[in-house]
Amino acid sequence: MASATASGPVRDTGIGALLRHRAVGKVLLLAVAAAVIVPILNAKWASGAWPDALTVDLTEPLGKTTDWVIDNRDSHPLFTYFFGHISNAIVLSVRGVYLLLLGAGWAGVTVAAGLIAWRVAGIGLAVMASVSFAVCGLLGMWVPTMQTLALMIVAVLASVVVGLLLGLAGGLSDRVFRILRPVLDTMQVLPAYAYLLPFALVFGMGVPAAILATVVYSAPPMARLTALGLRGADSGVMEAVTSLGATGRQRLLSARLPLALKELLLGVNQTIMMALSMAVIASVIGAGGLGDRVYQALSTVDVGQALAAGIPIVLLAVVLDRVTGAAGERMGTQTAEADASPLRGWRGWSLAAAVTLAAALAARFLDRVDWPTGWVVNIAPSVNTAKDWMVDHLYTDVPVVGGTADWAAHFTTWVLNPVRDGLQGLPWWSVLLIVAALAWLIGTWQTALTAVAAMAAIGVLGVWNKSLDTLSQVLAGVAVTLVLGFAIGVLASRSRRFERLLRPVLDVFQTMPQFVYLIPVVALFGIGRAPAVAAAVVYALPAVVRITTQGLSQVDAAAMESSRSLGATSWQQLRKVQLPLARPALLLALNQGVVLVLAVVVIGGLVGGGALGYDVVFGIAQGDLATAWWPVPRSSASA
C-alpha cells in the first residue's frame, strides 16, 4: 500500500538559498496580515478553543438522511430499480466466483495459483504461491480464504475497470485531470472506515456494501497511475505516430496505452493491495471471510486464533504483490530468449488450464474436494502461550529499562499530555496562523489557503478539541516513527544482509491486519493513547524504513566513491553525502509517515486512543452516519 503513494510525484519543498530569502518575506507578510486581523477576531470571539458561535451542527440533517434511507430502502424506485440491481449483480458474481473456487477444490485452486504464477512471474514465485495456499489450508482457514478470494477477485476487477476509465479520462483531458487530482488525493487520506457506513446504509450489511466500499477505496491508485502513464508518454514517439497519420483512437491504442503499460500494471498491483486491506476492514459490515475470523477472535481475546486468520491474509498479500510486481517487470523487459520457449503464449496457458482441470478432477474422484480436517494444524495455543510469556516478562519491573507499561505511562505523562494540552491551550486563531505559516513555507499560498480552510472547517464542525487531541497523537506517532524508521533505514542501506532479513518482517507488518496486533499492544502498553500511538508506529514504520533504505542506497555511486577517496569516514559520508542527496526520498518518507499514522487513528480508537478515532468507531458501531463522518475533514487537513 505504501508504495501507492511512494510512486506519486515528490513535492519540491524548495528550500534553497534563494527560497530561504523568500521564506522570510512570506513570514513577514503573514505577520503583518495577522497583526491586522487577529485583534479583530480576538475582540469578537475571545476564547481559547474554537468559539461555539462559529460551529454548525450537522447531526440533524445527517440523521434525517439516515432515517429516509432506512424507511424507503425497500420501496423507493431509486433503490429497487437502481441500487437493487447493482447489489444483485454483485451477489451473483461473488457467488459465481466462490462456487467456482469451491468446485475446483483445494487441489485445483492450489495448482492453479502455482501455474498462473509460473506463467506470469516464473518458477520461484509459482512454488511460493502454491505453498502459501497450502498453508492457508493447514491453518484451517480454507473456506474463509476462498470467501475472501472471491470477494477480492470481483472487487479488484471492478476497481481496475473503474480506475482505468477514470484514468483514461484524466490522462487524455487536462481539465478532467485537474478536477480528478484533488478528489483522488482526498480519497486516499480518508480513513478506510469512513467509506463503510454510507454503503452499508444504502445496501445493507453484507457483501455488496463491502465490495462497493472496496472499489471506491482501491480504484484511486489505478486511476492515478493510468493518468500518469498516459500523460508521461514520450513526446517524440507521439510525434512520430501522429506524423504517420494515425487517428486519435489509433494513437491511444497503439502508442499511448502500450507505452503506459508499466504504470498500468503498477496500478493493478496497488489496487490489489488496497483492496485486500479493505476486504479485511469490511468484515465490520459483514463481508465475511478471513477478516471476519480475525474480528471474531478478538472478542475472546484470542491472539492465536486471530493470527491463524491473519497469516493467510499476509500470504495472499505477499503472493499477489510479488506476482503482479514480477509480471509488471517482465512486461517491461520481455526478451527474445523468452520468446523462443516452446511454452510461450497460448500453449503455456492451455497446459496450465489442463493441469488445473486434472488436479481438480483428481481431488473430486478421490472425494477430497474440501480440505481434509486431519491436515489442520492448530497454532493458537502455542501462540497464546508465547504472547503470555512475552507480556509477563516485559510488562513491568524489568531491571534497568523498566517495563512496557511504565514506558507507556511516562510517554503519556511526559509527551502526549503536554503536547495535547499545549495545542488545546493555544488560542484558536493562533493555531490557524501556525498552520498557514507552515503550509506557506512548504508550498504555495494556495496550499496555505487550503490548509487554513480545512482547519477552520474542523472548528465549524465542532470537533476542534478532539482534533487537536488526535493531532497530538499523530505528531508523537510521526516523531517516533521517523526516529526509528530513519535509524533502521540507515542500517539497512549499509548492510545488504540486514536488508534481506528485514524484508519479510516489513512485509508482514505492512500487510497484517491491524486488528491482529491490537491485543498484544494493549497487553503491553495498557489502554489509552500510548498503545494507540504504538499501533500507529507499527503500521507506518515499514513504509518509512523502505523509502529511506531505497533513497539512501540509490545515491549516486560516483558521489560515494569520490567522497571515500577523499578520506571521509563512514559517518561523514552518511551525513555529508548520502543524507543530503537522498533528501527527496526522506521527505517522501516523512509524508508517508504522516499519512499512514493518520490512517491508523481509527484503530487507535479501538484501544482507547479516544478523540476522533473513538468517534468513528462509535459511529460505525451505532450505525450513525453523523458521528462517523464528522472527523473526516480532519484528515484532509493534514494531507
Partner: protein, 326 residues
C-alpha cells in the same frame, strides 16, 4: 506492441460484456435488496440459517449451541456473521441474517422495525437476565469493604488513577457499541473520576486481566453474565437504586442500570417460513449457569465454540431435547 494492445482491448471489452450480462441476469424488473441472501449461503445446496453473532462471549455461546444442534440434529448449514448491535438490527430487518440470539434492549430499533415496519418479530426470552454495573476487583473490595458504595468512591479516587485519567480516578468503559450512561453518572453524582474508553471489549478485557495479574485496584464498567468473573472475581459498586423511568433523560441520569431479560429477535419472513429452524430457535431457552459454562469453555479454555457446544450438548440432553420440534 500491436498484439498486446489487442489483448488489452479484448479484456476491457469482455469486462464490460460481463458487467452487462450480469445486469441482464439479474433481470429488468424491480430488485428488492431485502430478498437477497449472502453469496456464501447454501453453497453445499443445504438449507441454511444465518445467525448474527454479537461480539461478547455470552452471545457466542448461545449461537454455538444453537448452531451445533441445527447442524447435527436438524441437518441445517449455519452461517454466522459478526456485526455490531445496532447494525445487526438493520441486517435482520433486511433478511441478511435470520436471527439475533441475544439482545440487550434497543427500544428505538424495536419501535422502528418491530412495531412500524414489521420486518422483525420478537423471538422470546433467552432465559438469561443481563445487568450492567460498576465493578471493582474482589481482592480490593475485601481490603476496603466500603468501596462498594458509590458514596465512598471519591475517597478512593487517587488509588484508581492512571496516566490516562490524569489527577482523577479512572472509570474504565468498554466498546463504543455498548449501552452506557457513565459520563452523565460521573457528572451527576459529583464523582472525582474520568471515564476512559477502552474502545473495544477486547482491549478492556486485556487491561482488566493485566491489572488483576498485578493485583492493582481498578474500577470498570462491566456486565453480567460474563465469563471474566470466573477468572477475575469482581464485586459490584452499588449505585443509587434503579426505578422505572429514572433513566428517561440521559443527561440527568442518577441511578443504576436496570436488570434486562435478554431477548431473541427473528426476521419476520424467517419466523413464518423458516420451518423447523425457526421453531427450534424460538424454543431455545437456557439458564445463566448453562450459558456461563459454555462461555468459559470458549473464552478461557480457548476451546472452539463448536467443541464447547458439543461438550455442553452431550451433558445436557434433557434440556435441549425440549427445544427440538416434533
Amino acid at each position: 506492441m500491436r498484439v498486446r494492445t489487442h489483448v488489452m482491448r479484448t479484456r476491457v471489452l469482455s469486462a464490460v460484456t460481463a458487467g452487462g450480462a450480469l445486469l441482464a441476469l439479474s433481470g429488468c424488473g424491480a430488485a428488492d435488496m431485502t430478498k437477497q441472501a449472502s453469496p456464501y449461503a447454501n453453497a453445499a445446496g443445504a438449507k441454511t440459517v444465518t445467525l448474527s453473532v454479537q461480539s461478547w462471549v455470552g452471545a457466542q455461546a448461545d449461537v454455538a449451541v444453537a448452531e451445533y444442534l441445527l447442524k447435527n440434529e436438524l441437518g441445517y448449514r449455519v452461517d454466522k456473521v459478526q456485526i455490531d448491535e445496532v447494525p445487526a438490527w438493520d441486517a435482520l430487518s433486511q433478511g441478511r441474517v435470520d436471527a439475533i440470539m441475544e439482545d440487550w434492549g434497543h427500544p428505538e430499533q424495536e419501535q422502528r422495525y418491530v412495531k412500524e415496519k414489521k420486518t422483525i418479530v420478537r423471538g422470546g426470552d433467552v432465559g438469561v437476565t443481563g445487568h450492567i454495573g460498576w465493578y471493582v476487583p474482589t481482592y480490593f473490595a475485601k481490603k476496603h469493604p466500603d468501596v462498594t458504595d458509590w458514596k465512598n468512591l471519591n475517597k478512593y479516587a487517587d488509588q484508581f488513577r492512571t496516566s490516562e485519567s490524569g489527577d482523577k480516578g479512572q472509570l474504565m468503559d468498554g466498546s463504543p457499541s455498548y449501552v452506557t450512561n457513565d459520563k452523565a453518572l460521573v457528572k451527576n453524582l459529583g464523582l472525582d473520576y474520568e471515564v476512559v474508553f477502552a474502545g473495544s471489549e477486547a482491549a478492556q478485557i486485556t487491561q482488566i486481566e493485566q491489572f488483576a495479574k498485578q493485583r492493582k485496584p481498578f474500577l470498570t464498567y462491566w456486565y453480567k453474565p460474563q465469563w471474566l468473573f470466573e477468572k477475575v472475581p469482581m464485586t459490584e459498586v452499588k449505585l443509587p437504586e434503579y426505578k422505572e423511568g429514572c433513566d428517561a433523560d440521559p443527561a440527568k441520569i442518577k441511578c443504576a442500570y436496570p436488570h434486562t431479560p435478554l431477548q431473541k429477535y427473528f426476521n419476520a419472513d424467517f419466523a413464518k417460513k423458516g420451518g423447523d429452524a425457526a421453531k427450534f430457535l424460538k424454543n431455545f431457552k437456557w439458564s445463566e449457569e448453562d450459558q456461563n459454562e459454555v462461555s468459559l469453555m470458549i473464552a478461557d479454555q480457548k476451546m472452539s465454540p463448536d467443541a464447547a457446544a458439543k461438550k455442553w450438548v452431550e451433558k445436557n440432553e434433557a434440556k435441549w431435547r425440549a427445544w427440538i420440534p416434533e
